[in-house]
Symmetry: D2
C-alpha cells in the first residue's frame, strides 16, 4: 500500500518528530511512503520509514535528483514545480498531512477532489458556508493517523 | 491583464450570477478571463465576459476541445486532468474564487503558494493553528472582487 | 481551427521566412496559430499571423509571461519546461513543423502518437527498420503546408 | 544509477527478448530500471530486472495503479497520458530505446533535447538536412547497450 505524507519543507522540531513517527509506523505496517522528496516533513517521514526498514519514494519538483533528501530510496524527477504535488496525491492511496502551509493545502484539496482519504495531524481546518468541512479526518497521534489512513485506503 | 476566475463546474443560480458579473466587469476593465473552460462558474464568467466584449481562455482538463463551454474564445487542451488547475493559476496574475468546492480549493492553495493574489466571493475560509488564515482577500460584491484583484495584480 | 506551428527557438533567416509565411497563410484562412510562444520559428509564425490579422496563442515553458514573443496574443504560462510541448500538440488539430531540432522532433513524435496530422517543411526524416516512415507529410512551400494541414485537420 | 528503458507497449518476441536482457544486465550492474510501467518492452525489461534481483520503477500514464505490469516494484500514478513520457526521461540518467514506435520516438527526442544519453537497439534512425543525426548511439547487443548507457550516464 502506498501512503503519501505531505507537509512543509521547513518545519519546527515537534512537527518533524510527528512526521518521523508517521513514517516509521507506515514502514512497520509494510506501506511504501510517498512524498515530495525534499526536507522538513518529507525528510522526517522518510527518515522514520528507513529506520523502520521501509521503502520511500520522493517525487521531486525540480530537475535535479540531488535535491532529494538522503532518506529517499526512489527519486522521481519531474521538473513540474508545484504541479508535482498532484503526482504525490495520485500515487498515494491515502495521504497524511502533518502541519503544513499552502503547498500542503493544495495536496489536501486535490486528494479530496480525487476522493483519496485525507488524514490530518495539526493541519488545516476548512470552512465553507459557515460550517466545518469534514473532508479531513482528524488524528490525534501519529499512530492514530496511520491507523485511519490504512483502514480507509484499503476500502 | 490575465485574471483567473475559479469555481465549481456545477453551481446554484446565485453563484452563477455572481460569476457572470465578475466576468463582465473584468471584460469592461480590459482583462482577459482565464478559467478551466467547463460549466458552472467557468461558463458564467465566460458568458459575462463575452457579453461585455471581452476575451476568454479555457484551459481544459480533458483531451477534447468540444468540452469547452460556448463562451470560450481560446481553448487549451491539456489532458492533464485536475492538474490543469495549476495552469489556470500560473496563467493568471490574480484569481477570483466564486463559491467552489475541493477543486477550487486546490486552485486557491496553489495560487497562495505561488504568491498570486486570491480574492474570494463566498468561498472557503481557512484556519490553521486555531487562527483564520488571511491569504484569501474577502470581497463582498463582484465589482469589489474585480477591483481588488486588478489592483493587487498590477503591483 | 487551431493549427500548431513548431520549430526551433533559434533559426536561420530562410527558415524564419518560411515560418512567417505559414503563420500569415494560416491567419488568412481563419486559423488560430498555436505555438510554444518563444523566438525563432515560433516568433516568425506569430509575426506572420498578426500581419495578416490573425490570433496567436503561445504556450510557454517557463513561469514568466514576459518570455513570450511580442506577437503572442494569448500567453499560457505552464512552468512545465519541455513537457509543455505536449500541450502545444494537444491544443492543435494539426501541426506544421518548420525545420527544427530535437524539441521539434518531440512534438512531431507526440503528434504522430496522438494521431494528429503532421506536415513538414524541411524538417526531420524518420526511418525505422530500414524504411522511411511516412508519418510526416512533406510540403514544398508554406502555402502547400497550410493547405495540407487544414484539409487533414478538418477530416 | 537510474536507467530508462523505452519501447513499445506491444512488441514481437525478439524485441521483448532483447528488452529482457537489457533489464537483467542493468540489474546485475546495480541500476534501477525506470520505464513507463506497461506491457511489451516495458514489461520485458522489468521482468529481466526482477529475475536478476533488481529494482524497477513504472511511471504510469493513467490513473489506475493496477495497469502496471506485474514486475513493477514502485508504480507512480500520473494521469498525464503520453506526457508522462517526459517524466520517464527526466527520471533517467540515460535511456535505452529497444525497437519502438512514435511514443518511443518522443522519449528519444526529449532525452536528446535534455542532453540525456540515448542508446538504441534496433530503433529509429533520424535524418535532418540530408544527413544522419548522430544523437542516438547504436548498440548491437543488449549487453553493449547497457555498457554504453552506464558509461555515458556516469560522466
Amino acid at each position: 500500500m502506498y501512503i503519501g505524507v505531505v507537509g512543509d519543507g521547513m518545519c519546527p522540531p515537534e512537527v518533524a518528530e510527528a512526521a518521523e513517527k508517521v513514517g516509521a509506523e507506515l514502514a512497520r505496517r509494510g506501506c511504501v511512503v510517498v512524498c515530495g522528496g525534499l526536507g522538513g516533513v518529507m525528510e522526517a517521514a522518510c527518515r522514520g520509514a528507513k529506520q523502520a526498514g521501509g521503502l520511500t519514494v520522493g517525487i521531486l519538483p525540480g530537475n535535479d535528483r540531488r535535491a532529494a533528501n538522503p532518506f529517499v530510496d526512489v527519486a522521481i524527477v519531474t521538473g513540474l514545480g508545484e504541479l508535482r504535488n498532484g503526482l504525490v496525491v495520485k500515487s498515494s492511496e491515502a495521504i497524511i498531512a502533518v502541519g503544513g502551509r499552502y503547498g500542503t493545502l493544495s495536496e489536501i484539496a486535490l486528494a479530496l477532489k480525487l476522493g483519496r482519504p485525507v488524514v490530518g495531524l495539526d493541519t488545516w481546518q476548512l470552512y465553507r458556508e459557515g460550517g466545518l468541512d469534514r473532508g479531513i479526518l482528524v488524528a490525534t497521534t501519529p499512530r492514530d493517523a496511520v491507523e485511519i489512513a490504512i483502514s480507509l485506503a484499503s476500502q
